[in-house]
């Protein structure tokens, strides 16, 4: 066990030494891997933020219930109490017709039109948040409410929900495709770098074999090299995404504010921050392993 650990420690030290021996090359390798990985990682971060935005705008998948114009306050109170008894409704917001009128009049574009009407054209209304926000459950609830007396109109803004869902799904798919493609790219980068490393250290590899080195002994430093490249590249990608998040936070926040929403762009969370270098290191190691398998098989005496 001790010898095994000693061999691994030696291989890791040798890999670090080789990285440090050519600092400019190593830096460029890390940047290439980091930039490649930053694209899907950045996409994932944006997606996570978009999902949180969807959470914030959960008013969108709500059900608006409009009372009949001739319904008096008692009827409205009766409907409200019936709504409150339902377990499938999480939250009820009552908008009185007077309140709605006042809000509309606050809009300069609408004030003149509303004043021209003379009477308040708005009915009392409820904005409901369903306990189950999935579309089929909300559609079922809306259909039931439509059958209630003195309810004129029930509106479920399912188009908005569907559009948002479709956009998020598209985003998820795009990030996945990008991640798969760039992962293959990372493996190819690692493959090529290790191939060059093997060529550079050909004399040492050949000599080690002649002196009794096992395949594992010869491979180990290169595997660590690929692993460290991937790990370093993953950390660079994480730093790039973090920096981009901070850089975009203010302008994106301003844009979102124009839609009367608030969003503070968040950098990758702890889970993604740990996963990114880990996956990257794994891919670097995999690229190294494939490259070594091909390179060392071609050598006689091994």
């Amino acid at each position: 066990m001790n010898a095994w650990l000693t061999q691994h420690a030696r291989a890791a030290r040798l890999a670090l030494h080789r990285l440090a021996a050519a600092p400019l090359n190593s830096l460029l390798y890390l940047l290439a891997i980091g930039v490649a990985l930053a694209l899907p990682a950045g996409g994932q971060t944006l997606l996570a933020n978009a999902q949180s935005l969807a959470g914030i705008t959960s008013a969108a998948p709500q059900i608006s219930v409009f009372m009949a114009a001739n319904a008096d306050r008692a009827m409205t109170t009766d409907i409200e109490s019936r709504l409150k008894q339902r377990a499938d409704i999480k939250r009820i917001q009552f908008l009185s017709r007077e309140e709605t009128l006042a809000r509309m009049k606050a809009n300069p574009g609408l004030r003149e039109v509303i004043e021209a009407l003379g009477t308040n054209p708005f009915p009392d209304a409820f904005v409901l948040t369903a306990a189950d926000e999935r579309l089929p459950a909300m559609e079922q609830l809306a259909a039931e409410l439509r059958r209630w007396p003195r309810i004129e109109h029930v509106q479920l803004d399912s188009d908005w929900v569907r559009r948002l869902d479709a956009l998020l799904e598209l985003g998820r798919t795009a990030v996945l495709v990008l991640a798969v493609l760039l992962s293959i790219g990372l493996i190819a980068i690692s493959f090529s770098i290790i191939r060059m490393q093997v060529l550079t250290h050909r004399a040492e590899i050949e000599l080690s074999g002649l002196l009794g080195a096992t395949d594992g002994f010869i491979r180990r430093p290169f595997l660590y090299y690929g692993f460290l490249l991937g790990l370093g590249g993953g950390i660079v990608a994480w730093l790039l995404v973090g920096a981009a998040t901070l850089w975009l936070r203010a302008p994106l926040g301003e844009l979102v504010r124009l839609y009367e929403l608030t969003l503070a762009l968040q950098p990758p969370g702890p889970r993604d921050s740990a996963l990114l270098p880990a996956i990257s290191a794994g891919l670097g190691w995999l690229g190294a392993m494939i490259s070594l398998g091909q390179q060392l098989r071609q050598k006689s005496g091994y």
Binding site: T6, E204, E206, L207, S208, L210, L211, G212, F217
Partner: protein, 220 residues
Amino acid sequence: MACTLVIRFDRVSKRYPPGVDALSDISFEVAEREMVLVGGHSGAGKSTLLKLMAGIEKSTGGAILVGGQNVSGLARSALPYLRRRIGMVFQDQKLLLDRNAFENVMLPLSIAGFPHREAAQRVRAALDKVGLSSREKALPVMLSGGEQQRLAIARAVVGRPNLLLADEPTAHLDADTAADVARIFTEFNHVGVTVLIATYAGNLFPGGRRLQLEHGRLLQ
């Protein structure tokens, strides 16, 4: 515990494609603590003979026993462990030019998994034995031809092998340096190491048994 190595060649042949016979029907034995000099002109098969012993090349016929192990029949995964028990001085030395003398000699011990402190002690002892203790930080290019050869010998003996193989260890050396290198091999033989040297300059190694190869055949 390392077993005693004795070499036995039994009707060994080596044929390279497309049908060139490097060795034909070679049979001989090397006893424990013996010094054997394999002579012959260039291309006689001396290097091939050594490579077969270390499992660097595979014979195409016959049996090779080293320390009781049939080298020809060894699995690929077992070869590294055989090679660790043999010290080998290569014709072209195979020194790593980007490593200093100490690191070059350290390599076999790193491969064998020696703890660093013990390995460092052994390396210094081996360098001292060949008279290079003051040059341990020197890169191979900073060493003379004789020093490079001694460094290669130090690397071969640092693992304290029972069998030392050397392929033309005095080639390209002036007479004095060659004699100095030959003396080192003789000293190792005197302390119990079995030594087998492929050389055209057998006169430098007094006392060794001589085998003569000619066109891949052993002359009796």
